[in-house]
Amino acid sequence: MSIIKLSINGMEVEVQKGTTILEAAKKVGVHIPTLCHLNLEGFGIVNQVASCRACVVEVEGRNTLVPSCSEKVTEGMVVKTDSARSITGRRMAVELLLSNHPKECLTCAKNLECELQALSQDLGIREIKWEGEKMDYPLDKSSFSLVKDPNKCIMCRRCETMCNDVQTVGVLSAINRGFDTFVGPAFNLDMDNTACTFCGQCVAVCPTGALTETNDVGRVWRALHSSEKHVIVQVAPAIRVAIGEMFGMEAGSVTTGQLAASLRRLGFDGIFDTDFAADLTIMEEASELVHRIKHGGRLPMLTSCCPAWVKFFEHQFPDMLDIPSSCKSPQIMMGTVMKTYYAEKKGIDPRDIVVVSIMPCLAKKAEAARPELTKDYNNNVDLVLTTREYGAMLKEAGILFNQLPESDFDSLLGESTGAAVIFGTTGGVIEAAVRTAYEWITGEELENVEFHQLRGLEGIREATVNIGDLKLNIGIAHGLGNARKMLEDIRDGKSQYHAIEIMACPGGCIGGGGQPYHHGDMDIIRKRQEAIYKEDRSKVRRKSHENTAVLKLYEDYLGEPYGHKSHELLHTYYIPREKI
């Protein structure tokens, strides 16, 4: 690799050939503002379209300002990021964006999280000089998961990169030309009428309020304030390692105790942990895997916990619906158990129970509304909030999350093991399944429960785990583009796996579309992952089949894992869908 010498603001810099001006400037501590640019380091996700011009700088000898995010350095280049021309040019680029942007910051869902807002503050913009034509598109509120407001779109194309290059879902594209351009599905179809998986990764990277989650906070408040309803709540494993960020806590803080305490303060009638259902999922899923292996069933078996992944394969691989496990996701299993077992134990009519889920995910909202996941016209899960919505609710209620004393989940559906906690990260579901499958297949106790070969953040991982005489080949993918590669290999007969775990979001649920915004800082995701494993280590019981509350559920109500009643309540089926 050859070295390039250049000067930035009078400072000499040496960088590798192929470096952009933006990266070179970072090396000498020069900050150049960016907007459309996105580089999720370590995840191989880059959006480099240079469409917003917010990062333009002056290069000596060049007639026009150049976008530093995409312009590569050359030998002897003289760059001035702080000249009057550079500063004016950048401000003008942002002012022009603002001239066609709704002035709704105070009431916008993205208020204080908006990168356009932060940028105009950094650039000292105090008036919008130009009043030009404004976009006027209807909002897309067709889905249960997300809201698309094209009027707030700045054409950064980050969502397109996520939807097409990373997730390979291919729903979002720029349509039309010039001022009439908007980002949307083919023929501007309603999002609900497309192959959108509702993974929410477009929302996770949208710099403005053009893509946000459907807001269900009001519905949860109404349920809580209604005296006739018994309102109970479950929280997903990935919430406890992320929500603290919204209250000034370090990324990677484990806040399980505060989480339970905060739910109690809000007045829920029962405070439960989706981790319970994660353990239950393992009982069913590991049984199904053992059953498939012993009886020559369809292999590999793919996990089915992730609703975005489920919808992805329904649209993209409708010919392979026999491959995923038939297990419902932990969220839906929990809802089912709450509306049956719990209702029976408590002597409450399931129609009077409102189940609220707090999930790191937008797809969980759509999943809860799937008709085949309702029972007797009764939703298993009634309302779903994202981590962000729940955090906002706590702020509304004046609950200082970071100062709360620790509390516990309620009994009956509150106990969980370390195996359940790790559901929150890529590799976790399959590791939990292996812990249980090992003991079931060999009949021996598993000494070391940590399978480090299954951990990490590489997009596709594979490992072989020796379970007695059986060499269990395991595949792991996170990000739907990686999942697609795995599925294509299966279709082509190239796959040698017994079991594959797939999560739609980069990093798994810790990087879910409903989590506190990471604003491109992927260290946050890494810290959340470390926190998940830390929580696992802190647990006395770390194998799902040792969860005493789950064992009691089988004893009192379900009978055998993968048995008749389980099939009725905890398993589902998939529906082939079109690709649009």
Binding site: V169, L172, I175, F187, N188, N193, P576
Partner: protein, 189 residues
């Protein structure tokens, strides 16, 4: 209501229903309604290509020459045939002004809105054309005879303002000339 429209049932497998768009209009994506002979010819063309995904624009040109325009169901058909997302296909179709998603009339009347024509009053002629034909820009008249289209400079600025009907150029057009020009083509038909 949820999801059901997208279930891959036998009748939906090739499209076969209308889907709602963000403006509340329904889009017909039924690929079965496409003319079978023309589709066979399009298939033959696509199958002859070495790099099908890289030839999207060529395929769209072929489709438009066969069908006269690129209706939504044809875009869906092409998207599935070469395995490119429909959104990408629609993005390309809606970007290039040569492609049209509306049926075209027998004659295309183009009005130049380039600088020279514009300063010589082409906007007034444009309005007169809309009034006389009772049609909006880029739309076909009810009788299917004309499509009205605004275009940029045609390179005949000396003749500004310029109207073209198919390949025939009319220069120095005045508002009062409009009905004469249209009449000629109506009578021909």
């Amino acid at each position: 209501m949820y999801y059901t429209v997208l279930e891959l049932t036998q009748e939906n497998v090739e499209g076969g229903r209308n889907l709602k768009n963000a403006k509340g209009k329904f889009v017909d994506l039924d690929t079965k309604k496409l003319d079978r002979e023309k589709i066979d010819e399009l298939d033959e063309y696509i199958d002859s290509l070495e790099d099908q995904k890289g030839s999207l624009i060529h395929i769209l040109h072929k489709g438009q020459s066969l069908f006269g325009y690129l209706p939504e169901n044809l875009q869906i058909y092409i998207s599935r045939k070469i395995d490119i997302p429909a959104a990408k296909v629609n993005g390309v179709v809606s970007f290039y002004s040569f492609f049209t998603q509306e049926p075209r009339g027998k004659h295309t009347i183009s009005i130049c809105m380039g600088t020279a024509c514009f300063v010589n009053g082409s906007d007034k002629i444009f309005n007169e054309l809309k009034r006389e034909l009772n049609v909006e820009n880029n739309k076909m008249t009810e009788d299917g005879l004309f499509t009205l289209k605004d275009i940029r400079c045609v390179g005949a600025c000396g003749l500004a303002p310029v109207v073209m009907v198919d390949d025939q150029v009319y220069g120095h057009v005045k508002v009062s000339d409009v009905s004469e020009i249209i009449k000629k083509y109506r009578e021909e038909d």
